[in-house]
Amino acid sequence: MLEVDHLNKVYDSHGRRVEAIGDLTFTVPEGQFACVVGPSGCGKTTLLRTLAGLLPPTSGEVQVLRRRVTEPPAGLAVVFQEYGRSLFPWLRVRDNVELPLRAQRIAKARRRELADEALAAVGLAGTGSAYPWQLSGGMQQRVAIARAIAYQPRVLLMDEPFAAVDAQTRADLEDLIRSVWQRLGVTLLFVTHDIDEAVYLGQRVVILSAAPTRVADDLDIDLPADRDQLTTRADPRFTELRSRVYAQIQKVKADPPGKEG
């Protein structure tokens, strides 16, 4: 599970002080699929990097699996937006998937098994010996997802993972993520700027305000667990929820929170 407790993050560079995250508190219970949306520049990526232990908070704290985060926590995997840059171009697809397992000193046979399973799960069985740059963008992101799956994390963070792929691929990848989450039972925090995507994917949508960021709204997505690009998106409830999120975001964009930070 994930706990964000009065998180505050201030960037101080070149003498300019920017408060990216004002005061953020929320909890994602074990096994939940939570989406985080917000207007652009609202510190979504900052939040994710803090959760991943890549960035120390200015004040407040973050807990992953009931441990305070001071460095990248064990049992947590991240899928970055920049798939082209998060895969090692000098390693073949399979070696990319296996590298984190090698760092964990998992035996070779077991590594191979896990990598094969993960690649099959994302529909990439048989591409293990290709180099990442020989694949299309969507396929590269699948490799990054396979790497996360093979790592068998208990918490999975995704930072706008589909922002840079085309619409068709994106729909496929969304369904892939839903099925991965259902199968693995991980706690999943999915950051996106796309409202439709957030509502379609999550069990819950956390809406952030503009910087300095707070939680503007927190919405349960009571759509059925079995989702489908065609029927779910045509569901009146889906339309209703997405309108609510949309209205919220317009509202936080129109009147940013007070500057009392």
């Binding site: 990097r49 991943a52 232990g53 890549l54 460095e71 990248p72 064990a74 947590l76 995997a77 991240v78 970055f80 920049e82 840059r85 998060s86 090692f88 171009p89 000098w90 390693l91 590298l99 984190p100 090698r102 760092a103 964990q104 180099y131 740059w133 020989q134 790497r147 790592y151």
Partner: protein, 257 residues
């Protein structure tokens, strides 16, 4: 047809140039500019197996030793310096200065410090050619992709795996660039060190021919030095293509988008 055309294009000019040299120098009476045929005959006479063993192999051995020393030292130091901002800031101006010293002028100094033996030559070759390797490694390690660094951190990839798969492989295109420049410098320093202080080696032999007015032999030595330079450069390119296959593939792929 295209193969024929390509062969003609590749070989046409070199053949033409050699032919022009051959004809223009044929029957030359100029003592200092002998006919190409004379030079080639001298080449066969001069560079016998004994001579190769006495002069060429020692040269190449010193070159290899100095170059490998520079390569390992430069990469190791470069990773250390490139990985740490403060060390980098501390050493940068000093390294810029040391790099700017023309390496051959260090030959007299190294002779003072460690005599005229092989050790001096190996050291001076290494010291002369380490800078491009070192500075390029620093830049390469520093310029590693942030997303890739973050990936290593989140997946808790550290130690040797990180050193090899993140730092060294990220830096490898730059390291190769530096190593290529270093090879050219190493060859220069090798020749110079042998011209200034040696009793064997290619540089020594060629200068001896010049001083003894064995002009065709001297020309053949110049040819041999050139040939070695070319062979080393080609060997390097072959190795580079093998090691950086991923890099060229990735770049070619990017250009297509």
């Amino acid at each position: 047809m295209t193969l024929l055309r390509r062969t003609l294009l590749a070989l046409g000019l070199p053949v033409l140039l050699v032919a022009v040299w051959w004809w223009a120098s044929a029957g030359s009476t100029d003592f200092y500019r002998p006919a190409l045929s004379t030079i080639l005959a001298a080449f066969a006479d001069t560079w016998t197996w004994d001579r190769v063993r006495a002069d060429v192999l020692p040269s190449l051995a010193r070159l290899a030793a100095g170059y490998l020393l520079a390569l390992t030292g430069g990469v190791a130091l470069g990773v250390l310096i490139g990985g740490n901002r403060h060390v980098r800031a501390f050493l940068e101006p000093l390294l810029e200065f040391l790099r700017a010293i023309p390496p051959p002028v260090l030959v007299p100094v190294f002779i003072l410090l460690s005599g005229v033996g092989d050790r001096t030559k190996v050291l001076v070759i290494a010291f002369g050619c380490v800078w491009p390797i070192l500075l390029n490694t620093v830049e390469g390690v520093r310029g590693r992709d942030e997303v890739l660094s973050d990936t290593c951190r989140t997946y808790r990839i550290g130690g040797g795996l990180r050193l090899w798969h993140l730092l060294l492989r990220s830096a490898s295109p730059r390291i190769v660039t530096g190593a290529r420049q270093a090879l050219a410098i190493a060859l220069i320093v090798m020749v110079i060190s042998e011209m200034i202080a040696a009793d064997n080696g290619l540089g020594f032999a060629v200068l001896q021919f010049q001083r003894g007015f064995q002009i065709p032999a001297m020309w053949s030595g110049v040819l041999l030095l050139g040939l070695i330079g070319v062979l080393l450069a080609w060997g390097f390119r072959w190795a580079e293509r093998r090691m950086l296959g991923w890099y060229y593939g990735q770049r070619a792929g990017r250009r297509e988008w």
